[in-house]
Structures are given as structure tokens and as C-alpha cells.
């Protein structure tokens, strides 16, 4: 996807608009569209959420399995993030083996969630060194109208917040017919997000629609959380070929705390 699918005339028009600080839908360059979160997409999942940002919609589910700890972390449970870009969500997504974007999305979400500390993996040990819980977050966009990475991360954190640890029977197997009263060991103070900035010409925008995203020439996804009262960057990945300058990066660092607080405020009413 090095040359994103966008006509030159659209790209030039958007570039001109952005220089004036305008967008087709009337938002400012760093404004997000409205969020909406609902829960219990599937009552078979340990926790699940549906996130909408504008017309972009992503469903995320948490499932848990009894597994073995990794050799380098015998005293910790496991976290896996996976998912797929389903062809139903966009004419751009194709069936078949995962393309790069489908590989990258869960990896970005994984890093933002993992390093934020929202989930305490040390509390997910069943028998130290032998049996631990594996928490699997699966991400599926339902409708892609841009900015899927940010939506997916909110969905993942929201689904974790609602997830319950399944009940084990005497044999140590999961008993799905017993109702669990044990929530996942998550920190209510931490709600990780990814804030992805997009560059077109010399303009930097947030929360692009599909059309804007396709016109942009570079993007950078910053995983952000608050940890012991401080803003923390937990992950980052620059994408596409056009470089970012020091000025761009410093601008992003300046506005990340404000954007994070704005989004956190909007999210509050859903929990």
C-alpha cells in the first residue's frame, strides 16, 4: 500500500484545504469525530466491545484459554492480540492470507496495551511455571472509514475492562456454564489509547476519514496512557515512505497530552 489509492485531484484539494486548516466535514485538523462504545457484542466472549468513531466501526472480543507460560516469563500470564481485516469492512480488504496491514494492526494494539500496564499479567498465573491464563484479544473492523488503529485500541481496552475470568472445574478445565464473578486484573486508572497522526504535505491531521487517510503520505501511531499521574508514550510506529521532521514530532509531543485528556473525557460516560 505504498501508493495509497487516491486520485491526484482529491489529494491536491485536500492538501490545499489542510493548509487553510479546513476539512470536508468541517472539523479542525486535530479534531476527532464522535465516539461511541457499546458492549457485549457476543455473550460467548469473556468480554467484548464495539467502537464507533464516525462511520468507522470495530468489534473487539476477549477470549481466555489455559496455557503454558513463556520460558522467559514463568510467573506471568500471556497476552496475544490478533485479528483480521475482513473483506466485509471495506472494498479494499481482500480475502486470503493476511496482508501487511492485517499483520501490523494487532501488533500495534498489542504494544500499546501491553506497555501501558492496564493488564497485570502477574495475576494470571494458575500454577506458577506450569499453567497460566492466555488472554487473547481479537480485533475485527466492521466498517472502515479511516483511523482503524485508534478505534481498535479503544475497543481492546474497553473489552478488557469488561472481561471476566472463566471458572475452572476440578480438572482444571474451563466450565462455560458457571457464571464468573472474577473480573480480569486490570487497572481502572489506566486506559491506553493510540493517537495516530497523518501527514499530507506539511499538514498534520488526526482521525482521518478513509478518503483523507488514502490521500496522506505518512502516518505515525503513538500509544499513550497515564501512569502514576504522568503522560506516557508506550509505543510508536511510523508508517509509509515520507519522512517526519523534528518539528512534526515536537508538535505531536506538545498536543498528545491535550488530545489524550479530551478523548479520556469523552470515554468516561461509557464505563
Amino acid at each position: 500500500m505504498s501508493a495509497m489509492d487516491c486520485s491526484n485531484i482529491t489529494r491536491e484539494t485536500l492538501k490545499r484545504l489542510f493548509v487553510e486548516g479546513k476539512r470536508f466535514d468541517g472539523r479542525g485538523l486535530s479534531d476527532y469525530r464522535d465516539f461511541n462504545i457499546s458492549f457485549n457484542v457476543s455473550n460467548k466472549a469473556e468480554g467484548s466491545a464495539r467502537v464507533k468513531i464516525g462511520k468507522t466501526e470495530v468489534v473487539v472480543g476477549v477470549k481466555m484459554e489455559v496455557g503454558k507460560p513463556y520460558a522467559d516469563s514463568p510467573e506471568k500470564g500471556n497476552l496475544t492480540v490478533s485479528g483480521d481485516l475482513l473483506p466485509m469492512a471495506s472494498p479494499r480488504f481482500e480475502a486470503g492470507p493476511p496482508k501487511f496491514n492485517a499483520i501490523e494492526l494487532p501488533r500495534l494494539v498489542d504494544r500499546a496495551i501491553r506497555h501501558s500496564g492496564i493488564l497485570d499479567l502477574k495475576q494470571l498465573v494458575i500454577t506458577p511455571g506450569e499453567k497460566v491464563w492466555t488472554v487473547i484479544i481479537d480485533i475485527y473492523p466492521i466498517n472502515d472509514d479511516g483511523n482503524i488503529i485508534d478505534a481498535a485500541t479503544i475497543g481492546a481496552a474497553a473489552a478488557l475492562r469488561k472481561a471476566m475470568v472463566p471458572v475452572l472445574n476440578e480438572k482444571g478445565e474451563i466450565d462455560y456454564h458457571q457464571e464468573s464473578k472474577t473480573p480480569l486484573p486490570i487497572s481502572k486508572e489506566i486506559f491506553p489509547m493510540i493517537i495516530t497522526f497523518f501527514r499530507l504535505g506539511d499538514s498534520i491531521i488526526l482521525d482521518p476519514t478513509r478518503e483523507e487517510e488514502e490521500a496522506c503520505e505518512a502516518r505515525i501511531a503513538w500509544g499513550v496512557s497515564k501512569w502514576e499521574g504522568q503522560y506516557m508514550i508506550n509505543s510508536c510506529q511510523k508508517g509509509e515512505e515520507i519522512p517526519l521532521t523534528r518539528q512534526h514530532i515536537e508538535y505531536m509531543m506538545d498536543i498528545i497530552p491535550k488530545k489524550f485528556d479530551e478523548a479520556s473525557e469523552k470515554l468516561k460516560k461509557f464505563f
Binding site: 505504498s2 501487511f100 501488533r107 506516557m232 509505543s235 511510523k238 514530532i249 515536537e250 509531543m253 506538545d254
Partner: protein, 233 residues
């Protein structure tokens, strides 16, 4: 902060010993080896050559295609051969890191294949790989605006350090370890790779860029020296 001691005995901004040599694979159009201490990367360039499958050809330009991987015995626990999600991601970010210095419009319908393999891994494999690949592209005579230099800046608890090794990557006290690999076009403020894992305050990122700039200046000198050595032979 000043009291912080690195396990290797290095100062906070001291990089591991670098080694660079070009022309290490006679069959390739360009090749190079680059190491940061115990991390050793080798890169080969083939092309520009006809791109297959044909439907991927671009009549407007040549394209860059990078493949990065760890050799199975480059790490303690044998790495299963073949691409992993991690290696596919690093291949892609390496491609993004290098392509801004290339102008392949003179080579329509072609591909430049860059193969990067890690012989021995002690953290910083993608950054060593980018430095090797950048050298190999120059050695192959591909038109380039400049070299790309790459370094990982780290944060151990509250201390910024340059060029993390594996032991440091696993640091687990206070704010833990942050690994922040960066690549940039030499002598510019254009960053072509930015990735990170860990916990770092937004206001500290500026200092990270300062440290990366200084380290990249040193890497650039090592790269230039290696290229001069081969032309003088």
C-alpha cells in the same frame, strides 16, 4: 541520574563498538556487514532487475523490496526458520526507512531487492540491519540522496542511554526499559524510522532525538569510511 551505571560499563551516550565493511558478498550487486558490538547484520542488494510477478511492476518507478530475518542460530533459543509476523513488520519498516533516499524513477518496472540477515543478535538488530542495507545500496551504485543511519535510544528507569544491548532491553526496575529505534537521513532532521516500546514521557522524546542525532553522526562517519575503503582497493 549521573550515578546510573550501565551493566556493560559504557557511559550513558556511549555506543557499542561499530564495525562496517562493504563488498562482503561477491555475487551481490552491493553488500555490507554492520555490527554494534555483538549484534551483526549482513545485507545484500540485487537489482535493479525485472520485477516478478509482473502485475507488481510499476511503469512509473522501480520499487524497493526488503526482506529482514534472524538466522536460526542468531539467538539463544533457536529461531524457527521462515518469516514471522515480527520479521515481516521489520522488513516493512526497513523498506520505509530506506526508500526516502532513493529515486527509482529511472528504473521503471524494476525491483531492488535488499536482503538483510542477522548473524548474531544482541538487541538493535533492525538498526544494524538498516545501517548495513544503506551501505549495501550505496555499494551497489543505486542513486541515493544520502545514506540512512539508524540507532536505538533507550530509557532505563529514568535514564536515557544510547544503543541498548539485550541485557539492557530486559531491564525491569522503576519505569522499566524503553527501546526507541530511530533512523534518519544523514545530516538532516528527516526521520524515516520511529518505533518504540516501553514508557516514556512526551517531553523526553525531544532529548531522545538529540541523542539519536549525535549517534547517527558517528554512524555516518563509520559508513563513509567503509565505502571509501572499498573504492580505494
Amino acid at each position: 541520574m549521573v550515578n546510573f551505571k550501565r551493566s556493560s560499563g559504557r557511559t550513558l551516550t556511549e555506543m557499542r563498538k561499530m564495525y562496517a565493511k562493504v563488498g562482503v558478498i561477491p555475487n551481490a550487486d552491493g553488500s555490507a556487514i554492520f555490527s554494534f558490538g555483538d549484534t551483526v547484520a549482513i545485507a545484500a542488494v540485487y537489482g535493479p532487475r525485472q520485477l516478478h510477478p509482473q502485475h507488481m511492476q510499476d511503469p512509473a518507478t522501480g520499487i524497493l523490496r526488503v526482506n529482514y530475518d534472524l538466522l536460526s542460530f542468531s539467538v539463544y533459543e533457536r529461531k524457527k526458520p521462515g518469516p514471522s509476523r515480527r520479521s515481516q513488520e521489520i522488513s516493512k519498516v526497513t523498506e520505509w526507512a530506506l526508500s526516502p533516499v532513493l529515486d527509482l524513477k529511472e528504473f521503471p518496472n524494476t525491483v531492488i531487492d535488499v536482503q538483510v540477515y542477522i548473524l548474531q543478535a544482541d538487541a538493535g538488530t533492525r538498526t544494524a540491519g538498516i545501517n548495513a542495507a544503506s551501505l549495501a545500496l550505496a555499494h551497489a551504485g543505486i542513486p541515493m540522496r544520502n545514506l540512512v543511519c539508524s540507532i536505538s535510544v533507550g530509557k532505563l528507569d529514568k535514564n536515557l542511554v544510547v544503543d541498548l544491548d539485550k541485557e539492557e532491553e530486559d531491564y525491569d526496575e522503576g519505569e522499566g526499559a524503553t527501546d526507541f529505534p530511530i533512523a534518519k537521513i544523514a545530516n538532516s532532521d528527516k526521520y524515516t524510522l520511529l518505533q518504540l516500546d516501553g514508557k516514556i514521557q512526551p517531553e523526553v522524546v525531544k532529548k531522545v532525538l538529540d541523542l539519536a542525532d549525535k549517534a547517527c553522526d558517528e554512524i555516518y562517519e563509520v559508513q563513509k569510511k567503509a565505502l571509501k575503503e572499498v573504492t580505494e582497493q
